[in-house]
Assembly symmetry: C2
Homo-oligomer: 357 residues x 2
């Protein structure tokens, strides 16, 4: 019992291969009666069209590619997990498969594009970030290869709206701004920001959101003194947090959960009164830390955090890319869409622990 093919089914049914092909690819062109008959046999025989043969003819592999970056040291690996899963799921639902590959550098990534394009015939690529003056996006554009990026194209520190490619991103500034608004509503006024040292645009945006919301809440006078930067680690959070607390911050918005975990630890120790659950130190005031990325660790520790809608982002990326792929076959002029998604603050009560000595 070899696998059924168009030819074997045609022989069994007494019709031509073409008719069966039409049943699958252009059902309208075949008479309902025969269509039913053909479908029944397809079902019974468990027939599946061969992707290889189809690809050879149509020059489309129904296959998308994505580079898997090496696992970072950070806590934020779970965000990639969620993104990848949603991506796979969306692609699958759209009839595409997802192929993973590794690369040592951006230049190597371009080499992989070229190989995967020629050899495996991938239809398009998904990038998980883009840098200013990115060799990869330029290569893809020059070669007319469809792709979509998770992350804005940053141009000299500012998001360049003139990007001529599809992208989806999360509005980090809106996230930190919402965190500030929330804290201000709770009565906090000395709300600090703890960010990264490098001048990466993503970090800058998160800081900008904090500053914007501080001013909008009438707390602009605190902006100059309450912004700190530290290495993106827990101990970085400890030292940065200590400094902010020394400047009388009662709440801290952080650029990452790693920093936030460290800062939370500091507040617990240096301001036990402010921290104790159920015992607000001032009128309704309770010390608070907000992280970024809503990692499982944050959830486990009861740390509030800005949650990125990565699943939505993945879905939109697949949609943009598949639309472009479908469009290319037709008009060839797909509008390069882009989308900025809003994160939301997940508010949590810190894990109750035994009272401290």
């Amino acid at each position: 019992m070899a696998r059924p093919t168009l030819a074997s089914l045609a022989a069994e049914l007494g019709v031509s291969r073409q008719t069966i092909s039409n049943v699958l690819n252009a059902p309208a062109r075949v008479k309902p009666a025969t269509r039913e008959r053909v479908l029944a046999v397809i079902e019974a025989a468990g027939y599946r069209p061969s992707a290889a043969a189809r690809q050879l003819r149509t020059r489309r592999s129904m296959n998308l590619g994505m580079r898997l970056l090496p696992a970072t040291d950070g806590i934020n690996g779970s965000v990639l997990d969620r993104f990848l899963h949603a991506l796979t799921e969306s692609a699958q639902a759209a009839g595409y498969r997802l192929t993973l590959f590794c690369a040592d550098s951006d230049d190597d990534e371009v080499l992989q594009y070229e190989q995967l394009l020629h050899i495996a015939g991938l239809d398009g690529f998904i990038l998980t970030s883009s840098r200013p003056d990115d060799v990869r996006t330029r290569w893809l554009q020059e070669h007319g290869t469809p792709f979509a990026v998770f992350g804005r194209p940053w141009d000299a520190g500012l998001p360049s709206e003139s990007a001529s490619h599809a992208w989806v991103d999360v509005d980090g500034a809106a996230g930190t701004a919402e965190a500030v608004t929330m804290l201000a509503r709770q009565g906090h006024s000395r709300i600090g920001f703890l960010g990264w040292q490098d001048g990466a645009p993503v970090g800058d945006a998160r800081r900008a959101g904090w500053e914007r919301a501080m001013r909008a809440s009438g707390l602009g006078q605190h902006v100059p003194g309450l912004s700190m930067a530290a290495p993106d680690t827990i101990s970085g959070g400890v030292s940065g947090g200590r400094e902010l607390i020394a400047r009388d911050a009662t709440a801290i918005v952080c650029a990452s959960d790693s920093l936030a975990i460290g800062a939370l630890e500091c507040l617990r120790e240096l301001r036990p009164g402010l921290f104790a659950p159920g015992q607000p130190a001032g009128p309704g005031l309770r010390a608070a830390v907000v992280g970024f990325d809503d990692t499982p660790v944050a959830a486990a520790l009861g740390l509030s955090s800005v949650a990125q809608p990565v699943e939505d982002a993945a879905r939109h990326i697949v949609r943009l890319l598949t639309c472009e792929l479908a469009g290319n076959a037709g008009a060839g002029a797909a509008p390069e869409e882009h989308l900025l998604l809003a994160p939301r603050v997940v508010e949590r009560v810190p894990l109750p622990l035994a009272p401290r000595g």
Copy 2:
């Protein structure tokens, strides 16, 4: 400038397509002089053989499949990241590509196998776990589909050595045993174990390793009272740790980093003297917690942890699977290999924090 094909190169060179094909697939069968000439043109033209056409002819896609499980709530997602990256890298080095897919259940996974096998012609699959009486491994075996599993086949709680398929696993018991040995060497005698509640074989093995090493270290008398189980969360670790400390445990070996983080928190609070860095409470004794999986959080907190060699595991899995694939073409009787890798304990000094109130 359309992409070069065997035909176009043949025309350019004045030789037959077959000769070029031989240069690539059976270099020995072609005269060195022409081989050089052909290779030069292949290089210059940037020719790449089409995987689709090749697959159509050879019935091999050079493509492996793996189900991506939904991101778990746990902290241990980063282990999957590392595994996946190493897997992709190894497969790539062996000339294979890796295709990801999602499934709602094990039954659905089997359905995906069937589809991917027929449609995309995947050559084999990688499974990241197997359960007792697993529908997936049974289906794959019945259909003669090559596959390899990360994780022993567990049979009624015991690893069944009679498994008739390739697998690679990490010896969890050896990991917890090594942790106990290390703690005993440091002077600890009341070493507790904090594991999971469900009777999953993986957790049982970790507990068994602890018990074995306790007895081997002459600490068997402590075994009955110092084994606890809790939900696999940080707060589970807090409550489990509290209980063990109440029973005078000075060190705790945990089945996961989540539990260990909670237990560490307890020790810090309830036994500050035992814990304080540089101030051993007894003769060289200092309270200690050992986690499992060596997640980034453990590294960040300075938590000792049992590290699984997931990169090695991934490499071996790819090796086993590709050997089976290569062998199938030949003898068809690949020996079902299996491999048990040893983890190692990463010893760390807890993150120094400001002294507690």
